[in-house]
């Protein structure tokens, strides 16, 4: 997909905005200028008779709507031996239907200057278009049509497999850091399918065929396994009436089993993954742990983990950054990251890269000692408050981006969350105590059950 949220560099605000469940809506923003501003219209949601959930997020500032359909299926739902089929099918959904030959849908979007794409993760697969509001109903008709009526030829499947193989080379083989991440995940998850790369293993992608794609499609692509999100210059009543003419006519699919994936056994080992690569000059160390996600956590542990991630390594004000990069001057980069938006137990990670004469051991020890300080003394009220303020602020900034809002709702609702969870997220963040943050650090950041990944230059160890 287009926006590169998966990789490097663009961490700051996006990541903050996507941090936990993220965020918010109308209400909590509280208007600083209530006198001249209208209150943002509230988010509305409803469910069609065929099981399709619908969420409408009005934003009338520009004549643009973002139309997204999210399927509650991702790479972690694949059967063993068919890795990559969720993502491959995502590509194949652009190959036309009984009604609409290949290229017609994309041609329609291009003809009005719209933007379209799709993306796959371990828990969801989503398709979207951004178009002027008067094209919304047509987009809904096309998207509803390809929910059940896909037509695939062997030729189309063969060609597209080549594209996906090229994509894997671009995203993974071409990037040592992506190769390492893939191996760290494969080691971190000993039994859960989060250990499998979303794009699939190359040797299995090469064997995926038309029937594999259709089996997956027939099983998972149905209104009762999907969520429609419409954000932008439209209101709920309009979406409701368009939906009645489009999605509502798609028959409900067979009932799906609950999404119960294999779970992790008790992890009792510290594991290490090392990748030497000729393209690397400056090494990197990262360490990851399996931790609860928003969906699996109890007692606001996920909110506490989000705050722990922010305080420990969420940006230039974080402990790891201040200590390693600023005070000691041993790291070029350093931080932490919690992946809270996931259906099953997910991960918490820290990373650093040395600078100057410092070694990989120096920065690794530096991070360990920052974690040890939190385990011993917890976090201060002051830094907790600052971290909470940043999250609450991100909720308001997030409202500036309708596509971003749609993604927040889509990713939350396909990973076990609800609209209410999103609306109450700021309040729950506010209520987390310093004691809770210390407690989740103690409970989860245990080195003896972590995976450490080293990205190193060729030939050295």
């Amino acid at each position: 997909m287009k926006s590169s949220e998966r990789s490097g560099v663009r961490v700051s605000t996006i990541r903050r905005a996507m941090a936990g469940l993220l965020v918010l809506t109308a209400f909590l923003a509280g208007s600083a200028r209530a006198s001249d501003g209208e209150e943002a219209p509230p988010v509305e949601s409803f469910t069609l008779d065929n099981g399709l959930e619908v969420v409408v997020i009005p934003d009338h500032r520009a004549p643009i709507v973002t139309h997204m359909v999210w399927y509650k299926v991702g790479s972690a739902d694949e059967v063993r031996g068919k890795t990559g089929i969720a993502h491959f099918l995502e590509h194949l959904l652009f190959k036309g239907t009984k009604e609409h030959p290949p290229g017609e849908f994309s041609g329609k979007i291009a003809a009005i200057g719209g933007r379209e794409n799709a993306f796959t993760s371990s828990d969801y697969t989503a398709y979207y278009q951004q178009v002027p509001p008067d094209a919304l109903e047509e987009m809904m008709a096309f998207e509803a049509d390809r929910m059940r009526n896909l037509v695939l030829t062997d030729a189309a499947v063969d060609t597209e497999r080549g594209v996906v193989i090229a994509e894997r080379r671009t995203r993974i083989e071409n990037q040592p850091s992506a190769l390492l991440s893939e191996e760290v995940d494969a080691t971190l998850y000993q039994n859960h399918p989060y250990g499998v790369p979303v794009i699939g293993w190359m040797h299995e992608i090469e064997k995926l065929n038309r029937q594999d794609a259709l089996d997956f499609y027939d099983r998972y692509y149905a209104p009762n396994n999907a969520i429609l999100i419409v954000a932008g210059d439209v209101n709920a009543d309009t979406v409701r009436s368009y939906a009645a003419e489009t999605y509502a006519k798609v028959p409900r699919g067979p009932a799906l089993e609950p999404r119960e994936r294999p779970t992790e056994p008790e992890q009792n080992t510290a594991r290490t993954v090392t990748l030497h690569d000729a393209r690397i000059s400056v090494p990197t160390v990262q360490r990851s742990w399996v931790v609860p996600s928003y969906n699996t956590a109890s007692n606001d542990d996920a909110e506490a983990l989000d705050l722990l991630g922010e305080i420990l390594g969420g940006g230039v004000r974080s402990r790891i950054y201040q200590e390693l990069v600023v005070r000691q001057g041993i790291a070029a980069s350093a931080g932490a990251w919690y992946r809270g938006t996931a259906l099953d137990d997910s991960s918490f990670s820290v990373y650093a890269s040395p600078r100057g004469g410092a070694t990989i051991a120096d920065v690794e020890n530096g991070i360990k000692s920052e974690i040890a300080k939190i385990l011993a003394d917890g976090v201060t009220e002051e830094e907790l408050e600052a971290a909470k303020n940043r999250y609450v602020r991100s909720v308001i900034f997030a409202r500036d981006d309708q596509a971003g809002m749609a993604r927040i709702y889509g990713s939350t609702l396909t990973t076990g969350g609800t609209v209410e969870d999103i609306e109450k997220w700021s309040g729950r963040i506010r209520s987390v105590t310093a004691e809770q943050v210390k407690a989740v650090a103690a409970r989860y950041l245990d080195e003896s059950r972590s995976v450490t990944g080293y990205l190193l230059p060729e030939g050295k160890s």
Binding site: S7, S31, A40, G114, V163, R169, R171, A332, R339, G356
Partner: protein
């Protein structure tokens, strides 16, 4: 520029045209595409001290976003001190006025604002977004950052070390090396051939005094372009403009930069054992002020513009499955222009892919598009403008700064519609011939096979 990178797991992946930014880096380009329906109402605001800004007033979300640019950028780096402007962009939030680095960042965080600075070859730009309720505190900090950055030795050394670490980290990265080599091939001794980051050696010579002097020269009111979007009215904005920019010198003092024609008609081959071969082609471009610009722009859109329907996308990806992303774009710097094509493919398919690209380019040069294709291209670039350029406060602010920097006029968004609609098929064919008949510069980076290809 960015220091706090991390490695996230590839949690999502998908279909798309991985955009080829390779050589282009800093696309101040914005190519435009307008919307008949563009709903922004732009006000020109002039402060008491004469600072100009374009304002889109909107209270839907209680935030204020400002973006500004000073002409200049890395082309102003003195010889031997390459990387100075980029280093400077890392230092505006590292101490200003009476506040040292830590105190400044703490104050910024407490003010609920996010500030960032960036630089391209031709500009140094900044942006800030803030909650409307803490606006005054946020603009206070921006005023300090713009007028009185401290450039204290400790943060200068730290940010420099981070940049050097990045340069070293890239030193064996074939993609970066290819980019450097291709820029050198295209631009020779011109400043556009230099890396924005500079080198470890050139950065070592930069002193706090150099940074102060460079800021002083570049930050003039005659050289400043400002756009503001959000919850602020013109009167308040005037006051903030005067506070932040009103005391800057009246005229900037920029070193002249020569125009340059990229060196085309050459081939750069780089032999690296990578799993994917990178291909780049450079043809002549066309400047935005050229009356034929939109003919060239529409032609490029049909050839390889960023949709799933361009000729290159169709022939190379959809029909043959050779690549994941492929696109073409017209790059416009202040002193150079080029039409670039970029993609990546399996090493054993590189020659085939290159041949197909060149066939498509030749076909466009010789035959041009059809009337139907041109109609579709116009519809696209007209409709896409709002979606691509006006879909959030930050994208609106970026667009409005670009329009000002390129001197296109406050009515540009409306005027663009008729500029595009009036382009004829003959004009597009002429533009295709003009740009695509040339022998391109080609860069091929990947494992070189025995037959030389």
């Amino acid at each position: 520029m960015t220091f706090h990178w991390t490695q996230l797991t590839p949690a999502t992946t998908g279909r798309l045209v991985a955009l080829v930014s390779a050589f282009v880096v800093a696309l101040s380009v914005v190519v435009v595409a307008t919307g008949a329906r563009a709903a922004v109402e732009i006000q020109e605001v002039v402060s008491d001290k004469g600072v100009r800004a374009w304002l889109v007033e909107d209270y839907t979300v209680p935030i204020v976003t400002m973006r500004f640019a000073f002409r200049g950028g890395s082309t102003q780096d003195p010889e031997g001190k390459e990387g100075l402007a980029n280093l400077m962009t890392g230092l505006f939030d590292e101490g200003a006025g009476d506040l040292d680095s830590d105190a400044f960042q703490k104050a910024l965080d407490e003010a609920g604002a996010e500030m960032s600075f960036d630089q391209s070859r031709d500009e140094l730009s900044g942006s800030i977004r803030m909650l409307a309720e803490t606006r005054e505190k946020a603009f206070d900090l921006l005023r300090l950052a713009v007028n009185d950055p401290r450039f204290d030795p400790a943060p200068v050394d730290r940010i420099r070390a981070q940049i050097v670490s990045g340069i070293i980290a890239d030193s064996r990265n074939p993609s970066t090396l290819a980019q450097i080599a291709f820029n050198k091939a295209l631009f020779g001794d011109h400043p556009y051939a230099r890396r924005d980051e500079g080198t470890a050696e050139s950065l070592a010579t930069v002193t706090p005094e150099d940074l102060k002097a460079a800021r002083e020269k570049m930050f003039g009111r005659d050289n400043l372009y400002v756009a503001v979007v959000g919850a602020i009215d013109p009167e308040d904005l005037k006051r903030e403009l005067d506070r932040v920019f009103g005391d800057l010198r009246e005229k900037a003092d920029l070193a002249p930069v020569a125009d340059i024609q990229p060196n085309l008609g050459q081939e750069t081959r780089l032999d690296y054992p990578v799993p994917q071969t990178t291909l780049r082609l450079a043809y002549p471009g066309m400047v935005r002020q050229d009356p034929e610009y939109f003919a060239a722009y529409l032609m490029n859109h049909m050839l390889g513009g960023g949709t799933f329907s361009s000729r290159l996308f169709e022939e190379v990806r959809e029909k043959r499955g050779l690549v994941y992303g492929i696109s073409s774009y017209i790059v416009n710097f202040d002193h150079a222009t080029a039409l670039m094509i970029g993609t990546g493919t399996a090493p054993d398919k590189a020659e085939e892919t290159l041949a197909i690209i060149r066939d498509e380019v030749r076909r466009m040069a010789e035959e041009g598009p059809t009337e139907g294709e041109l109609r579709e291209a116009k519809d696209y670039v007209l409709g896409a403008y709002a979606i691509n350029n006006l879909d959030s406060s930050s994208s609106i602010a970026r667009t409005l700064v670009d329009i000002q920097v390129n001197d296109l006029g406050i009515d540009y968004i409306d005027r663009r519609v008729s500029l595009i609609n009036s382009v004829t098929l003959d004009q597009v064919k002429a533009a295709a011939k003009l740009l695509l008949d040339a022998e391109p510069a080609v860069m091929i980076m990947g494992p070189q096979t025995t037959n030389g290809g």
